[in-house]
Amino acid sequence: MQTKDINENIAWAKINEDVLRSMENPRKGYWIAVAACIAMVMCAVLAEIYQYQVGMGPSNLNWPHMWDLYIATFVFWIGMSHSGTLLSAILHIIQADWRKPIYRFAEAMTTFSLMTAGLFPIIHLGRVWNMYWVLPYVSDRGIWPNFRSPLIWDAFAITTYLTSSALFLFIGMIPDLAICRDNARGWRQKLYTVLSLGWQGDDRQWRNFRKIYLLMACFLIPLAVSVHSIVSADFAMSIMPGWHITSFPPYFVAGALYSGCAAIITLFIILRYFFRFDEYMTIPILEKTCKLTFAIAMVWSYLTLIEFASVWYGHDMVAKESLLSRFYGPYAPFFWLMLFCGIVAPFALAIEKFRRHLPTMFVVSLVLNLGMWLERWMIVTPTLATSYYPFAFDTMWPSMVQWAIVFGSFGWFGLLFLIFVKVFPSVSMYEVKEMVFHRRHYHSADLATKFHRRASDREEAGEPSTEGAKS
């Protein structure tokens, strides 16, 4: 049974080789995957074109269900985006170095899920062609967006988060891009030459690189938190029962990290399988991720129950009604399914046997994500179904148009990701080397594990951080 995070005897050349190999001559499977994704995207595109021409009607949205899957899925994707930040920024700062082999694709995930999420608020607009009106640009008419509206805050938050996370991803890749540059031919070489910004790997560069990277990490963490808090404000700022809940910001953030980690597990397994990254994305690392996920899952579950409790013991009868309607109303089956996926399923992660079994983990991670998506849907829709005004009580089921667009969004995400893994190194070579170096430097596994705890008790150990190691 494998206990080491990584085999410290890997030759560095091999690391380069393995990673670079993953970027070359795609196999048939890859093209099939690409084709599938494109097909999915086309579904969405067709649906959107239809909706664009006819109006919002075909999506089955109605009075009072003015929002539905679009917004739910939007929140879902925003949530997804928190994984990367978590792994690369938070874990970076607390120096959990097992993150090194897997943070790259997690960051990519962040960027791409944001790019996906950003589409939904636009798609759900009744008059898409006027969407730029939400931007505060100097108009001839001298009118401005309404800065009190959470939707405007969204617009700002998301754009900021997208830019900075993309930047973070890029900066973190520079040393690897340099490696690629040195090994690539043809257009790739040109590309990497431009992107690696003349990286030579000398001390000065490394020092600045570290600084910047650390700064970005510190900047990104509060940003990530604020973004999802703001998204939660879309609901928390309204007066609708079931939306107007104080604990929403932390609740949403927790949910975000949760779904993000689950997604990481999924992609971890996929990449490991297809790119044969067995030596980098090792079972112990997967286990650690799973433990982390489990912890977050428990936090989320706690907050979920808190939400119920606070409504239940509160005095707002209407809020109680809408809560009960979630448990017993027309959407109850999905709600219960959500509770199962979100609260019960993660316990699979607590069992080592499962954690080490890839297929199980794959399935579980998908279940968790389903749960998270359902959670968003169960926040948006039941509230609209029953709120203050009895005459407007109604049940609505989304039409194929909505499903198609939601479905397509996954294709879009997949497509971006597929392109990424072929163009950029999906495992950070230089950081893996650091990791390997560090393991090699202290020959025993338990020492290695000791170092993991060094973040907390550096002084008495008195060792220099391995983070600064030269590659």
């Binding site: 108009s139 001839d140 008419r141 001298g142 009118i143 401005w144 309404n146």
Partner: protein, 208 residues
């Protein structure tokens, strides 16, 4: 604009601060529209800052080449003599054919354009003019109110040169034969003028 001056300022007349800002913005916008400064022509209208902005309208063909210049300029006929509804209604109105015939049954009857007109009159059908100054249908412009503000309730203003006020939005029609559009007539154009002559800034004044 989701809040209007009246909604906010305690007094109907605007506070100093607002005045400053509005001037600053006015300047800012005149810089925006700095390329074309044609405002000089309308100096005669008291207590009014004419709107700035130009537009090169393509010339619209009309069934009869109506010479505004001859009527308004050479013969100095007041605009409101023909566009008689302007002071009473939202639309200025095109003179009924009978009004044209009122004069032209005797004046210049030999001219080709008048002949054409007479044909229409005898066929008992009015000519179909093409609309030159058009705004979208969710914009509800009222001639009446603007004439009130700039002409009838504007002391020092002489009704004789009402054409100067018309010129704010219709350009110097006196100098044209068939009217053509020389002002943008878009929202920016309107808003700037409302800013400077403190007209209402409530959206529902114009959009319903």
């Amino acid at each position: 604009m989701f809040v209007s001056n009246k909604f906010l300022s305690k007094r109907r007349s605007k506070s100093v601060g607002q005045g400053k800002v509005s001037q600053r913005l006015a300047m800012f916008f005149s810089v925006l529209a700095g390329v074309f400064i044609v405002a000089a022509a309308q100096a005669e209208v008291p207590n009014a800052k004419p709107p700035v902005g130009t537009h090169s309208g393509e010339d619209v063909p009309q069934p009869i080449e109506f010479p505004h210049d001859i009527h308004a300029d050479v013969n100095g006929i007041n605009c409101m003599y023909c566009h008689t509804y302007a002071r009473r209604s939202k639309v200025a109105g095109i003179p009924p054919t009978s009004k044209c015939m009122g004069c032209h049954s005797v004046i210049a009857t030999d001219k080709p354009r008048i002949k054409k007109l007479t044909e229409y009159w005898e066929k008992k059908e009015p000519p179909q003019w093409n609309k030159v100054h058009d705004v979208p249908d969710y914009v509800h412009f009222t001639h009446e109110k603007h004439l009130k503000r700039f002409v009838f309730e504007n002391e020092g203003m002489d009704v004789e040169n009402v054409s100067e006020v018309c010129a704010f939005c219709h350009g110097d029609v006196k100098k044209m034969t068939v009217a053509e559009k020389v002002k943008p007539l878009n929202m920016g154009f309107c808003v700037r003028c409302h800013e400077q002559n403190d007209g209402p800034s409530d959206c529902w004044k114009c959009h319903k």
